[in-house]
Subunit: 239 residues, 2 copies
């Protein structure tokens, strides 16, 4: 049974955290909207069809047989269990999911650097507010989050190669995407702050070198970072 991933076809966005888990799992999946025309009939159908009893609020969502699973972290909870990308014991599962949810919080804050007023408005319609919000993000929030995840690696009793225990989890894969995305969006700020977070940089490099992830990143399946996703590079926001 192949999974069906439903997400916007032209951005990495939140869907990328799911794509990375599916790729590392070696799972068969269809990235449905990337095979559709511009009207995205399948993607919108599931959200708008009155016959769907458990409609997702927004993409990404994953069809897995009879299951229709929405919310990025929830999808990763499911895939982590099914593909050995999370510990099997309750304490390990909860800790992995806790980190995943903290990553999700960071993703919201990254998005809101360029959309602090409304996700339905253009960046150009909220530039002064974006400038102020990004200054706060780079001065306070990004250091707080990165410092936290660096500490999680440093304190891991099993060593600092992984966020959880001594095995690869969805949280490691997602953290790779965070570092890659922040480098794209804020290259100057990241150049300044990275030396303080050597474990996170090594984790990024380790994930990027995993054979399946390396092959994925070099493939046309990996959409390039661009100005429509969550991580966007506006030079005026990264002085």
């Amino acid at each position: 049974m192949a999974y069906e991933l439903y997400y916007w076809p032209e951005i990495q966005g939140r869907g990328e955290f799911v794509r990375l888990a599916l790729e590392q799992a070696g799972a068969a999946y269809t990235d449905v909207a990337r095979e559709e025309d511009d009207d995205l009939p399948g993607l919108m159908h599931t959200m708008q069809d009155g016959a769907v009893p458990q409609p997702p609020f927004a993409p990404p969502y994953l069809k897995a047989g009879d299951l229709l699973i929405g919310q990025t972290a929830n999808i990763l909870l499911f895939l982590g269990d099914r593909h050995g990308l999370a510990p099997a014991d309750e304490a390990g599962r909860l800790w992995t999911h806790q980190l995943q949810l903290t990553i999700a919080d960071l993703v919201v804050e990254v998005h809101d650097t360029h959309h602090p007023i409304g996700s339905g408005l253009y960046y150009e319609d909220q530039k002064p507010e974006a400038k102020r919000r990004t200054e706060d993000f780079l001065a306070h929030r990004m250091p707080k989050y990165l410092g936290y995840f660096e500490r999680v690696l440093a304190r891991n009793p099993a060593g600092d190669a992984h966020l959880v225990g001594d095995g690869l989890t969805t949280a490691d894969l997602s953290m790779f995407q965070i570092i890659a995305g922040l480098r794209y969006a804020f290259p100057k700020a990241m150049a300044r702050i990275e030396p303080k977070h050597p474990r996170l940089v090594r984790l990024h490099d380790r994930v990027a070198a995993l054979p399946r992830i390396k092959a994925y990143l070099a493939s046309p399946r990996r959409i390039a970072f661009n100005q429509d996703g969550i991580f966007r590079h506006y030079p005026e926001l990264d002085p």
Copy 2:
């Protein structure tokens, strides 16, 4: 074994979603920080102590025996399983958690109506931006979320008394808090929009009438809504 809940002692905030689940479960728990002095030694200790191998990023977090569980939705996932406040089957658990995560997204957006620039700044330092963000929230985001949850109730094959199946879940308890909070923060906007969402209003009333919840709401354990929490009433934001 009594649970220990760690959360800011003077607000409902995100901790309230956990308190409601603990109360409905009839679980023994200590609301630790409410028994501490102003320095909050226990609350801050766990976050700052270098010896804690799995530190939470922020409150609330719950100690359950040897487990230290952070992230509101993650705590509710745990409590739902343990106290029958979620279905036992995988599909039902994932759907309940999906709704819980969508509620968590809404909570972030409510918070950001009064803090669109920075959570470390005062409201008074971001009033023009808060005005704009709240206009967008009331015009677009609040209707989108409430319309979604109303549809979830309407489409529930087991009837519209609960968000999930025919039993009470943490998602129902949290939805009660959302309606109560939005009424406190935006009484005028809610008076206009509530008639379109009769199922959500009935769900709110049904939860409020549960014997344990009713007793909790009437007790001193229920902190009143106030201007330091997530739901805040600024008349200028609800014209």
